[in-house]
Structure formats: C-alpha cells, structure tokens
Symmetry: C2
Subunit: 409 residues, 2 copies
C-alpha cells in the first residue's frame, strides 16, 4: 500500500507559487536574500504550513528551521529539506522545492494516516546561497559543526550587515543548539541547475557526489604600451596572458574530460582601452571535478602553464585562492535507494554528480546522505527564467516520498 | 656655414618646460585637452613666442595656428609643426616638441641672420589627440580638405561640447581658409612613443610610413550558465570565445611578422562572475600594418577565425568597425633627406614606420612629407612618465633645422 502512495503535484505547485509571491520580481522569479525581510516573510509562511501540518517547529541559534513529525519510536529523525533564501535574481524552485516537497510528503502521510517508525524532519537551512553573506551553505555548515556559531554570527554581508544582528532583526535566532546533530539519514530534492538531465531525456538524477571546487583569482601585471608603436616581441601584455590562460583552461578541461569543468567567468583589464596594451588583468579560474586527484592534477597543470607563460611574456603573477572544497561522495546505499525508488515509480533515472554546492554535502559529514535531481529547462538557474515542469516536480517529490518511507521504516 | 648651424638645446628644453606648466599635473605630465581653457592658455603662449620671433601669426577657421617667416622669394612655405593638445594624462613632449622645435629653428635662424629662399611656417594643429573630440588628427584633416569644416565644427565631444562652440569660447576660431593649402613640403619632429629606437640604441628615426589601422569591436552573445553544472560540451561561452580570439590575434601577428601588430586591449564580460559562464563578451581588436595588402590579409584571417569559432561554440557575433585607415607612405626623397641630415650630424639613424597616427600623415595628402623620430624612454607615451633625454631632443631639433634649411633653399 505504501508503494502505491503518491504526493499531490498540484498542491506542491501551489505551495511553490505561494512562497514565490514573497519577494516576487517583475517578469517572474524572486529575490529573497538571506535574512532579509522577504526571508522573514518566507520563514513565517513555511512555519505556518509546518504548524498546519502538525509538525513541531524548532529554530536553532543559526536560524535553521526544523519541522519534526514524531515516529512510532524515539530516535534520530530521517531528515529532508533544503533552503528558502534565493540569489538576487532567483527562481521559484532552487531550494524551495526541497523544503516544500518535504512538506508535501508530510501532508501525504497525514492524509493517508501513516505514522513512520522513525521521526521525520523537514529542514530549511539559513543562507544556502551565499549571495549576501559568504560562505554559501552557511546554515548547514554551522548545523553540522563545520563552522563555529560565533564566527557565522560575526560574518558581515555585502551590505555590511552582521549575520547575528540580521537574525535578531527578523526574529530568526532560535534556541535549539547547533554543532552536534543526530540525524539518521538525509535526502534532498533539488533542481539540477544544469542541462544534463534534459539533454539526456532523463527525469530523475540519483546524485552520487558533489564536485570539488577550486577557485583562484589571478592578477597579472605587465607593462602598459601603445598598441601601434610597440612591436610584438617587446610586449609584456597582461591582457594577452590572461586570455591565453583562459584559452588554456578550456583546453585543459576538454583534455581531462570526464566530470572536469573549467571556467573563466570574470576578467577585468586595465586600462581597458582599444589602443593600449593592458598592464593589468585580474581574472578568476573555476575548476571542478568529482575526483580530488584529478582536480589537483588540473590545478597543477594550470599553475605550470601560468608560471611558464608569465616567464615568456615577462609579467608578474599574483594568485589568491578564493575557495577550495574537496569533492563530497554520497553514501552508495543512499544513492541506490534513490535510483531504485525512481525505477520502481517507472521514471528514467541516471546516476550523476552535482556541479553545484548543496546543503546535502554538509549533512553528508554527519549521516548517510544523497540527493534527488529533477530537470532544469535549458539548464537555467539563478535566473528568473528558472523552470522545471510540473510533471518533473511531481516525479521528484514522489521519489522523495518513497525514499523517506524506506528510510523511516 | 649653414651645415655648422646648431639649435640651442637648453632654450628648447626651457620652452618645453614653460608650455608644460599650463595644465600641469601633480607628479608630472600635463592635461591640456583640445579646446579646453588650458589649450587656450597654451595657444596664447605659443602665439606670444611666435610674435617675439617676428613670425606673422594666422589662425584658420578650424583653430589651426600658423607662424609664417617670409623667405627671399614668395611662394608656398616649407612647413613644420605638430600639436599642443594632450591626452588626459599626457607628457611634455608628444606634439609639443614638434611645435617648439619649429620655433627653436626659427630663433636659431634669426640669431644667425639667415633668410631662407622659401618662406618657413610653424604650425600647431587643433585636436590631434582625439581625446575629447573624435576623430584624432582633426585639425590637420580639415586643413588638407579631408573633412568638411562644417562637419568638424558640429562634432560633439565626450563631454557633449560642440567643437565650433568651444573654438568660439576660447577665441580660437580664426579667419584663414581651410581645405586647399599650398605647402611646399612638411616635416614633423615627434617622439617615437614606442621602444624601438631605445631598444636599437639609435638616436634618429627617419619615418618612411605610417601604419594602417583597423579597429573592430566584436560583441559575442552566448548563453549564461552555471560554471559547475554545465558540461564543457554543452556550453555557449561568449567569454571563452572572446579570449580564444584574443589568443588568435597574438598568434596571427606573430605569424605574419614584419610590421604587423595586433592587440586586444579592451574586453568586458557579462555578468562577469567567477561561477557563471559569460553570456556576453564585448572586445576590441586593433590590427596595424604598414602594408595594406598584409593588413587586409590579417583582417580576413581574423574574420574567418571568428566565423568558424562562433559556429563551433554556438554563439552570435556582431562586428562594428571603429576605425579603418590605410597605411600612409611618406615621400622617399623626404625620408632620404632626414636620413642624410642625421648622418651628416653624426647621429645613428634608422628608417622605420610610425605605429601611431600623426598630423604629418594628413599633410602627406597635399605635399611631400616625412617625420623625424627621437627615442621615448621605455617606449612610454600618453603617460605622465613620458620622457625623452635632452640630448635626443637637441639631436632631433638639429636634424629638423638641417632638413628645413635644405628644403627651403
């Protein structure tokens, strides 16, 4: 009978739309930056829903929000959830889907009169996006003990505001402790935010790992020269060197293949004039791989290329690490559960990595964890055009239901 | 006796310093934008000097300033000169040297009691730099009939000001006609603004041609994507394509060799974020060659590369021509005169192209023309650090004296 249980897709879509009204942008999408007044309104709506569903609501000292549904037995809960903060031009699905699908699962169980053996918990973690306060995934990181609470509270945002003050200002600082959670397992439903499922014609991604991330900012300093009067052999062109490095990054990622990606997304030249050889170029390199050894190999290749190029071109190089996270493997049995549930429901499914960071990778430090991905149309996310078809939302939430049922027995 | 005549180097340096006081910047250098109040003050000082030297001063309808010294015979004058406007962070030498060395030659002839057969004329052309009003070399272009006066007067600057209004405001609009000058020959002394003479250990450049210039602005439009979740094969990365094009421009210039130079000095990515594949890249390509056929070949190679790359990457391309000037060859006999005079004076000399534009290239349309280059320390120009050693200034002015003496007999 439990295998035949299904969530209500229309109810899920309605909740996504209702939450999307808070911070709604003209033309679609939503702006609900972490710890903003819109975030407060979003939290209050989620808390109202949790209470309507009979969940016991608690908030921890980091503002992480939990709705607990007791089981037939005491013990650590099976947890699901995600976040409801967004980037400045966010969509309706990123994060929100994971929280609201969790509530939809609860409502489905309520309607069916099912009490699971283990408790269930739906979480909404504070500041997953990092769009206002760095680092991203801050709430879940503090929750699992990966960052001292005090450090997080003292963090200042791009607007100068302090996390602790903002938590107080929106009434989101709770009393539940952080740093030693006891969770039986964690599974997070999320939109893919990439094009792979759509391109492959597959409905469900069983996420088996999160890519490691290596962000480096380079500043190249050469000599500003007249573009007409300076022969090529006498140039120390910081702009050329930066752009040759960007070209190398593409070659490197293509050559390494597999999951390796490499991006130069930001570059600023100085003085940035048509007829002046740039004396300074500042740019970032984003390298990601699910295999830490391959990621390290990519980092070494890049470093070697830059060192040699700088010598040839006669320029100075400064390097600054902006971020470095090792890849996170998810629990294979948890990934199997996602894959098996998807198949049992008749959905196409593929095992895949996550190229983006998620709260689940923090939870993986303290309990068996996996994620369920559903397709993003056009691979578009962090954009008001972010969209996932209702059938895919429903499919993902049904997989979540079955995985939670399985884990909680 | 005339071969033994020498200019007074200290007097020349003193005039350069005195003119450099007008619009002087802290830390050195000068800002004397075309038709600004500083330009007015500069013009007044030059006019005062011309009158002190007994020259007959005239100003044309474009504000070009001329000081005429009668010869023993009537007829078209032998002309020298340059400009006294500067870029925003200009030096003391660019342009000013050509005007003030002309005055120094006049004073030397006055002191020696020499009257040449042909009249001599020292010119200061309006708005050579183009830093406030485009195009550059505007005054000399109008003077030779290359642009209608009315069009030049209607031109608006980066500050919205109209050339005609600004000429009136600083009292620089004169009555002499433009468009059909009768000049026997023109020779301009200028700093090289590049590193070639210094690198070669040579004092005098006999400029035999001015490079042709091809400026193109490209706008590449691709798709903005998450740098983590978008596999390399599914990207339409406008930033990568722009940077690969810049890398190609370097390869192209190196491969073509000779005088060919190629520069990507300006590039702007959008949204310019570390973890987002750029959906738009706007950048400029500056190609120059003294041979127009080779320049056209470079333009074709670039166009072919961009077309193929855009197809492979799946991006849209817009192209806009910002500037296109054919190369200007100088009169070989005039170049020989410069070279021979330099040798006769005991200076090392090399024939060379000019990579920058100069008023002389406009005068070349109406009379035999050449230029004399002196070394720029470090190849630096359009910069408050612009510097040419006094001995080199003096050497260049002595070559100018001898060439003018030869042409005016």
């Amino acid at each position: 009978m439990r295998d035949a249980l299904r969530i209500n897709g229309q109810r899920l879509v309605a909740r996504l739309a209702a939450l999307g009204e808070i911070g709604a942008l003209e033309g679609g999408g939503v702006c609900r930056l972490a710890l903003s007044d819109e975030d407060r309104q979003g939290r209050e709506r989620v808390i109202d829903w949790m209470r309507e569903l009979g969940l016991s609501v608690s908030v921890d000292a980091m503002g992480n929000l939990f709705g607990l549904r007791p089981g037939r037995e005491e013990g650590p809960p099976v947890m699901t959830g995600s976040h409801i903060d967004t980037v400045r031009t966010g969509g309706l699905y990123d994060g929100n889907l994971g929280v609201l699908a969790g509530l939809e699962v609860i409502e489905t169980l309520n309607d069916a009169g099912i009490t699971t053996r283990r408790p269930l918990c739906v979480a909404a973690f504070t500041n997953e996006e990092g769009a206002r306060f760095a680092p991203d995934m801050m709430g879940s990181l503090v929750y699992v003990g990966g960052m001292p609470l005090e450090e997080a509270l003292e963090t200042r945002g791009i607007d100068g505001a302090r996390v602790g003050d903002c938590l107080d200002a929106i009434g989101a600082r709770g009393e539940a402790p952080v740093g030693a959670p006891d969770v039986h397992a964690f599974v997070e439903l999320h939109i893919e935010q990439g094009p792979v499922l759509e391109e492959s014609g597959v409905t469900i991604g069983a996420v088996e790992k999160v890519q490691g991330i290596s962000w480096t900012e380079f500043t190249f300093t050469g000599t500003s020269n007249h573009a007409g009067t300076t022969p090529m052999r006498l140039r120390h062109d910081a702009g050329y060197a930066a752009m040759a490095t960007a070209t190398f990054v593409r070659e490197l990622a293509t050559r390494l293949g597999g999951d390796q990606v490499g991006t130069v997304g930001a570059l600023t030249l100085s003085p940035n004039l048509v007829n002046v050889v740039a004396n300074q170029a500042r740019f970032t390199v984003d390298l990601r791989n699910t295999d830490n050894e391959l990621l390290k190999q990519a980092e070494r290749s890049l470093a070697d290329f830059v060192t040699q190029l700088a010598e040839e071109e006669g320029i100075e190089v400064e390097r600054r690490t902006l971020a470095r996270f090792d890849p996170v493997p998810f629990d294979p049995a948890m990934v199997d559960r996602v894959e098996a549930s998807a198949r049992a429901l008749g959905h196409s499914v593929m095992r895949m990595p996550s190229g983006a960071g998620h709260d689940a990778q923090m939870l993986a430090r303290v309990c068996p964890t996996s994620m369920i991905f559903v397709p993003s149309v056009g691979g578009i996310s962090h954009n008001i055009k972010e969209y996932t078809a209702p059938d895919d939302l429903e499919a993902g939430a049904n997989v979540l239901l079955q995985v939670l049922l399985g884990l909680s027995e």
